[in-house]
Amino acid sequence: MTTIKSPLSFAILGKCGSSKARVGKITLPHGPVDTPVFMPVGTQGTLKGMLPEQLKAMGVQILLANTYHLGTRPGVDILLKAGGLHKFMNWDGNLLTDSGGFQMVSLLKLAEITEQGVKFESLNEQKDQVMLSPEHSIEIQNAIGADIIMQLDDVVKTTVPDKERIEESVHRTTRWLDRCIKVHQNPSTQNIFPIVQGTLYQDLRKISIADHIKRDVNGFAIGGLSGGESKDDFWKIVHLCTDLLPKNKPIYLMGVGFATDLVVCSALGVDMFDCVFPTRTARFGCALTMVGQINLKKKQYATDLQPIDKDCDCSTCKNYTRAYLHGIVTDLPVACHLITVHNVVFQLRLMKTIRDSILNGTFVEFVQQFMLAIHPDRDYPTWIKDSLTAVNIPLL
């Protein structure tokens, strides 16, 4: 009997005594990933001017890239000839690709979803009708060659009230999952993750999970959130999903990456996160700190000779003042590079702090202090209070 060596193993290294937070190590074809992890987004096979050498030095273990963009340019043909995206972009760490469905529904107004797939008008001059089917999405993702790939899912905006439509999307997403698994060419080197759908309906989420966990997969994604729903609805769905999904496989919450959300959702038991915000915002001069963001374009920083964050040990905080960055921000491309370095290191540091505090048994204290620093008047938003109370973390 021959068994295919699994391209993913997941070891849980420690758990929080109170909440559902946990520390794990995912081992993938391009090395280990310490969880909970934040994955920076390199949409087009590059991350805001950073050399992969720099990302490696910062400690980035996994990057996200977008299937829709890469399938358009450079396209499957060139990706195959290049030997996959890792080689093309000179990144020997891990990669994860989305399915392209979400991008299409959110970027293209004219996308139409049928049982066959997502039909849309191409961006090319001929305005051809193009179909992104589950099979085609996997074909592109196989060409890209990411270590973790996503099934094509039937995305419904969380703000859509039509329950019938959402129920259809739950079942269709499972049917599409089977089609994706069936055509997947590289099961020994690429892991396919199903996406749990059902927007804000708990009963539909339960159905979606019950169906997905019957499939032979190495991890799960929670989709259909972070789309404009209220935070009070959001956390309850995350909480439900992490309760119902198997504990021995990594759980990826798609499109979530603000500092507060990372802390809360780690407490709820999520292992993987991604978000374009920390890198996209750098271009506009926005730098992240533990107590919120600062916009370096503001006049007040013109004479501010401190680093962005005196506790940060990134090369930008070690070598440059806010005043210096203020003078070049949105003017010279290097300003974007310098702030991106800080923002990526910030996200990595936050995740490391979360992991370390879980391992040494101080996660509850960390969460309490983190929230207090942002809300010194203790006027905590309801959703933060409720979600953390649900996992036995009382706020100070």
């Binding site: 087009q44 096979g45 590059t46 991350l47 805001k48 001017g49 950073m50 050399l51 992969p52 050498e53 720099q54 963009h69 340019r73 450079p74 060139i78 000839k81 290049a82 093309f88 972009m89 000179n90 013109a302 004479t303 000779l305 090369s315 070598n319 440059y320 003042t321 005043a323 210096y324 203020h326 003078g327 070049i328 003017d331 010279l332 491309p333 290097v334 974007c336 590079h337 310098l338 370095v341």
Partner: protein, 409 residues
């Protein structure tokens, strides 16, 4: 900082060295040398952290005042040198007024003042506020304020006005310099104005000569108005002026020139005896998506003088920009990848091209120094000239094939 000529003084392509640099006594830089052209202290597209991956040699940054003017308030409060302020404390710095990669706006003159155009508009500099700025920046080297607004087409009146202003700035700046405790270690370079008029150049040199003891080097200024056009200047136009000025300069002093000179003209200028240049040419190349690929060493394989990576023919070309290049860009990235980055307008495209261009330019200058040492500069010149000739032939062929295609349509 001291400058010493290492070759026989009378020989024109010459080797020299900059040493005894205050605070950096272990550093010794050999000339002919390219200062690293920067904007606000950064080579365009390259952070200092990335620059360390490109070259381990000591960095000598050229810092235009025009790119620092908006920091006036911050620098006033800052207790440190410009190298620290721009985030590169180990680098050497040379302050100059204008950015050689940008075309200067002509005109807008006021008596005893020079206009510069910052991102927030026109600002006038005179000897006083210029020296205030230099004192705050505390560079290792600086160029005295000058009126460099002349070119091949300037009127006699403009040329003599430029000489008059430059001499007056020189006088006042040197008075300030002599009184300045903060600038006592700074290396002073005096610009020589006079456009393309030998008589005016002579006059400028004579009027500046009394200050010679306080000056360690000279800049041949006023040959152009900066920007991409400098690449196209024919050497025969500037040669008479360059040769004349150099013949009149004290041989022990450093000789500088600024601007986006083509590599072939750089060799010719070295041949005439110029010691210091800058890398602004790399910026104009990178902005047009071009990477330098001319062969520097004998026997080095090269298919062309430069390549434009935006061109569709590179979309499936998985070779590095230049096969034998050891730069970070050529070691890990293909032409196809850079082409992809340019097509989707991602920042890393320009980063990789600039990394390669700077690396190529620094290697080119190393070759120039070696060639002068071995008395083989002519060989290098012939090699580069032959490749440029090929480039021109190729361009003409393209143009004529374009023409014939158009005529058949």
């Amino acid at each position: 900082m001291k400058f010493n000529v290492k070759t026989v003084l009378q020989r024109s392509p010459r080797l020299g060295e900059l040493s005894q640099i205050a605070g950096k006594l272990d550093v010794c830089l050999e000339t002919p040398l390219a200062l690293l052209h920067t904007q606000a202290g950064h080579i365009p597209h390259i952070t200092h952290e990335v620059l360390k991956l490109v070259t381990q040699e000591p960095h000598f940054l050229q810092i235009p005042v025009v790119s620092m003017h908006n920091y006036l308030e911050a620098i006033h409060l800052y207790d440190g040198r410009v190298a620290d302020f721009v985030g590169s404390k180990d680098s050497l710095t040379c302050v100059t007024l204008n950015d050689p990669s940008n075309l200067m706006k002509q005109g807008h003159h006021n008596k005893d003042k020079v206009p510069i155009f910052t991102k927030r508009g026109k600002v006038l500099y005179d000897s006083e506020n210029y020296m205030d700025m230099v004192e705050k920046l505390r560079p290792d080297m600086y160029i005295i304020l000058s009126d460099g607004d002349t070119n091949m087409t300037s009127s006699n009146k403009r040329v003599s006005k430029a000489v008059e202003n430059t001499v007056s700035f020189n006088q006042r700046c040197i008075e300030r310099h002599k009184k300045s405790e903060k600038l006592k270690d700074a290396f002073v370079i005096a610009p020589i104005a006079g456009g393309y008029c030998v008589k005016s150049r002579k006059q400028c040199l004579e009027l500046l000569s009394p200050n010679e003891p306080d000056v360690q080097g000279y800049l041949i200024d006023g040959l152009h108005n900066n920007g991409p056009e400098v690449e196209l200047i024919s050497f025969s136009e500037v040669k008479p002026i360059v040769d004349y000025v150099i013949s009149k300069l004290p041989p022990g002093k450093l000789r500088a020139i600024q601007g986006c000179w083509s590599p072939l003209n750089i060799i010719k200028l070295v041949n005439s005896g110029i010691d210091i240049f800058d890398t602004s040419y790399c910026r104009i190349l990178t902005e047009r998506s071009a990477a330098l690929t001319f062969a520097i060493d004998a026997g080095e394989a090269s298919e062309s003088y430069e390549i434009n990576l935006r061109h569709g023919k590179f979309s499936e070309d998985f070779q590095p920009v230049l096969k034998e290049c050891k730069c970070v860009a050529c070691q890990g990235y293909s032409r196809a990848y850079i082409h992809h980055l340019l097509t989707v307008q991602e920042l890393l495209g320009s980063v990789l091209i600039m990394v390669h261009n700077i690396h190529h330019m620094l290697r080119f200058f190393q070759k120039i120094r070696d060639s002068v040492r071995e008395d083989k500069l002519n060989e290098l010149e012939d090699r580069v000239a032959a490749q440029i000739k090929l480039l021109h032939c190729h361009k003409e062929q393209l143009a004529s094939s374009e023409l014939s295609r158009n005529s058949t349509e």
